[in-house]
């Protein structure tokens, strides 16, 4: 009896393994973490555009670059090094610290020999999960489909010498044993220019702008405490990365403080607290924000897009954009931010886009963009 | 097999409840005994009518009342139990140094000091134009006990006049100078 049961179990397991091994991933809308070949090293034949796309992306996810590149059409005109760099990033950019966690793809249109697919890539990054939408063209080559890899223009900076008017503030701080008052330097004078609290989804958002009114740089953080009708604090949060933390004299930054679980109905008052501290800082690099415009993107979302232009001779590894949107009364109605995946090389541009909520598109009359920069090995 | 009657069961339940209550009460009393006495809110009074050149803001007044009272609770705790932890936070600079040395001295000689039944009448006499220092006069009244081991070597109700300098810290007003004088 026991032996028969054992044989049945072994047979069922073998059958299920075989099914899993030979059954191709379905051509459904979602292909990602849970799909693909069960055994690493074996990819189902790319006899559909969906399968071809899934094969390439699964190998990219596993960092099997050679195998992934086999799925790329020779007509793409990219070499394997450029293909790999497209996925792994360079120059200490955000992409170099990111991993592809999953993807979803869906066909946009297809003929017998050509197809177009839209892929949503899910990345894990040091600044949180990021989502990227990309469109790919696929071609039938014999009895298999291949991905035509888009040639990505990478900034090529010619060797040059860029003079720098070096402007930097260093901080000499007193030790703990210093005489009281002997080495005091006042904290920078920073002021909240505006504050607006709105309902956003199930939670609420407090946003506005803050200005450095001093003549030295300031490291700024905005904290908000939401208070109920009885005057009790419900929650306290900080602007975290929804602000340009280092503000030069007279510089204005948007800020946004999220309270994801607290409905605005419960909030009767908001206590604002801006903390400014002295920090060593540099006036460089200067990053211009070019060709800013509000327009719909390929997915129909409304975005503010433009190009960041690095006017200096330093590489900005991770550019970060924070944008404030105003209504026709000049009131801040939304603050959005976004990280740029590629490094911003000296004297070159990189595109950026931040989303504007659909409900606010009609309200937005004006906008203001500031750029944070994170550069490896520099403060 | 012995069966309990309903009455006996109820009685047992009641006794169990009473025992739990008694335990909770005893625990609470024990934990209170281990703490230094808290200073009652109304035992610290602050008069800011003579402060200048800057007028003491209402929030500042409340902050000073709260933080000065809490600092004395910490002081009493530190000197009764010969521990330095309570001094971190409410005291800085000279005040902290003196209290630290006093605790270390008590530890070395096996002494303890108890500050009980405290009351403090504070008068703000100077508040800096930029609000970065306030000078207070405290007429403090308390029962001071000095113990050598378990033996009380001194027990007296005293009135001591303190000149106090407080400065704003990151999240509270802190005592920088706590200097007793024979009279103001």
């Amino acid at each position: 009896m026991n032996r028969a049961l054992l044989i049945i179990l072994i047979a069922a397991t073998a059958l299920l393994m075989a099914v899993a091994f030979f059954m191709p991933a379905g051509p459904g809308a979602t292909v990602g973490v849970a799909s693909g070949s069960a055994l690493p090293g074996f990819s189902p034949k790319a006899n559909t555009p969906e399968q071809a796309m899934a094969n390439v992306l699964l190998d990219v996810k596993r960092r099997n670059w050679d195998r992934a590149f086999v799925g790329v059409s020779k007509t793409s005109g990219v070499d394997e090094r450029a293909f790999i760099e497209d996925w792994t990033g360079s120059s200490g950019s955000l992409r170099t610290f990111s991993n592809l966690e999953g993807f979803e793809s869906r066909p946009l249109h297809a003929t017998n020999d050509e197809a177009q697919m839209r892929v949503r890539l899910h990345w894990s990054t040091p600044v949180g999960p990021e989502e990227e939408a990309r469109d790919f063209r696929l071609m039938r080559e014999g009895d298999t489909w291949k991905v035509v890899w888009p040639h990505t223009e990478t900034a090529s900076v010619p060797a040059q010498v860029i003079p720098v008017d070096y402007l930097r503030w260093d901080l000499v701080s007193g030790g703990a044993e210093d005489e009281w008052g002997a080495r005091n330097v006042d904290a920078p004078h920073v002021r909240i220019l505006s504050m607006n609290a709105v309902q956003a989804g199930d939670g609420s958002v407090v946003m506005g702008e803050v200005v450095n009114e001093d003549t030295i740089p300031a490291f700024v953080n905005v904290n908000a405490t939401v208070v109920d009708g009885s005057g009790n604090a419900i929650d306290e949060e900080s602007s975290f990365d929804k602000i340009a933390h280092i503000l030069l004299p007279k510089q204005v930054s948007p800020y946004r403080v999220d309270f994801p679980q607290i409905s605005l109905q419960r909030v009767k008052n908001v206590r604002m607290d801006v903390k400014a501290t002295l920090v060593p800082a540099s006036a460089d690099p200067v990053i211009g924000v070019m060709d800013q415009r509000l327009e719909p993107d390929a997915q129909g979302k409304n975005v503010l897009r433009g190009n960041l232009f690095n006017e200096s001779g330093q590489t900005v590894n991770i550019p970060h954009v924070v944008a404030s949107f105003y209504d026709n009364n000049g009131k801040v109605v939304w603050v959005a931010d976004g990280y740029v995946e590629r490094a911003l090389l000296p004297q070159s541009s990189e595109p950026f886009a931040v989303e504007v909520p659909r409900a606010l598109v009609g309200k937005v009359q004006n906008f203001h963009v500031v750029v944070n920069q994170y550069s490896l090995g520099r403060s | 097999m012995i069966r309990e009657t309903g009455k006996a069961s109820r009685l047992r339940g009641l006794m169990r409840g009473a025992a739990v209550l008694a335990l909770a009460l005893a625990g609470s009393l024990c934990s209170r005994a281990a703490d230094a006495p808290q200073i009652q809110k109304d035992q610290v009074q602050l008069d800011v009518s003579k402060a200048g050149p800057r007028a003491v803001e209402s929030l500042t007044q409340h902050g000073i009342l709260r933080d000065y009272g809490s600092a004395w609770t910490s002081l009493a705790h530190a000197l009764e139990f010969n521990t330095l932890d309570p001094l971190d936070g409410p005291f800085v600079g000279t005040a902290k140094k003196w209290l630290t040395e006093r605790v270390l001295g008590q530890q070395r000689s096996g002494l303890r000091s108890r500050y009980q039944d405290q009351s403090h009448k504070l008068q703000a006499i100077f508040y800096a134009p930029e609000g970065d220092v306030i000078e207070l006069h405290d007429t403090a009244e308390y029962r001071l006990q000095v113990l050598d081991g378990a033996k009380a070597v001194h027990d007296e109700r005293v009135v001591v006049h303190y000149v106090v300098l407080m400065t704003p810290g990151a999240d509270r007003w802190v005592i920088r100078q706590l200097q007793a004088v024979s009279q103001f």
Partner: protein
């Protein structure tokens, strides 16, 4: 009757013993100076002294003087001397601050725009060598000097260990030296007088191969002081492709920026609430 007599004798003996331990302390001691406490009676006793920064215990012989070293009396405040044999006796005394040897001088603000009413203030507190606040009355002199000019001078009577002043900032940007002095002691602080908001902000621009280069004229306030380097000047350009903005810091008195694009552009400039001139620059030929 015999029992009553015995009780009375005991009481007298006890009273005698107590009186024998009597402590005589000095009315007050200057910080850091030695002091003497005298006792009466005879035999061994335990002597305690408790005060700010001090808690000690030692054996003494009653009837001898107890020497307190200056090292143990550095901190001003209330001290308790206790002597115990069969019973305990105590006496208290005060240590007062010695002569001032340094001044704590709090000056605000560190940076002040020129021409501001009552914008600079200072507080001086004298301390002795042991960090005791010196409470005895004294005169303190406050002076404020720019590079070559005296801006302010005042003598103030210190009360309860505090002297203070308040004055307006000067008219010229630069470092101002603020000094507080009590007798031969002095403390110096520096206040940076900075320019006010820019006045008459103007820029020039020209088309280059890469786009448009714009540069302000030297940025000054209405008194002619150069606005601090690092101050942000915002350049904006409206073109057919949208709007471009560059937040550029002033360096060596001017701010400059490069705006990409080849089309015609209307360029504006602002710093804080001050708006400058506008330039109309044609498209690249």
């Amino acid at each position: 009757m015999r029992r009553l007599l015995l009780l009375c004798a005991g009481a007298v003996l006890l009273a005698g013993a107590s009186a024998g331990q009597e402590l005589r302390v000095p009315p007050s001691v200057s910080a850091g100076e030695d002091a003497t406490i005298s006792t009466a009676g005879s035999g061994q006793a335990t002597f305690y002294v408790v005060g700010p920064g001090v808690a000690s215990k030692s054996s003494v012989n009653l009837g001898e003087e107890i020497q307190l070293h200056g090292q143990d009396l550095r901190n001003a405040g209330h001290y308790m001397a206790i002597v115990c044999s069969s019973t305990c006796q105590s006496a208290s005394f005060y240590v007062i601050a010695a002569k001032p040897t340094n001044l704590s001088f709090l000056v605000h603000p560190s940076r002040v725009p020129v021409g501001q009413e009552n914008a600079v203030s200072g507080v001086a507190l004298p301390f002795d060598t042991f960090h005791n606040l010196v409470l005895s009355p004294a005169e303190v002199n406050f002076t404020m000097n720019a590079a070559n000019a005296a801006l302010f001078s005042r003598s103030v009577h210190m009360q309860q260990g505090i002297g203070w002043f308040r004055t307006s900032s000067g008219k010229t940007a630069g470092t101002v030296r603020v000094v507080a002095s009590v007798a031969d002691l002095s403390a110096r602080r520096a206040v940076q007088q900075v320019a006010s908001d820019p006045c008459n902000l103007r820029m020039q621009g020209q088309r280059t191969a890469k786009g448009i280069t714009v540069q302000t004229e030297p940025v000054r306030d209405c008194s002619g002081n150069p606005v601090s380097d690092g101050t942000i000047v915002s350049f904006g350009a409206v073109t057919a492709n949208g709007r471009s903005t560059v937040d550029a810091p002033i360096k060596h008195g001017v701010a400059r920026a490069q705006i990409e694009g080849s089309g015609a552009a209307v360029v504006s400039v602002a710093s804080g609430v001050v708006i400058g001139n506008e330039l109309h620059i044609g498209a690249q030929q």
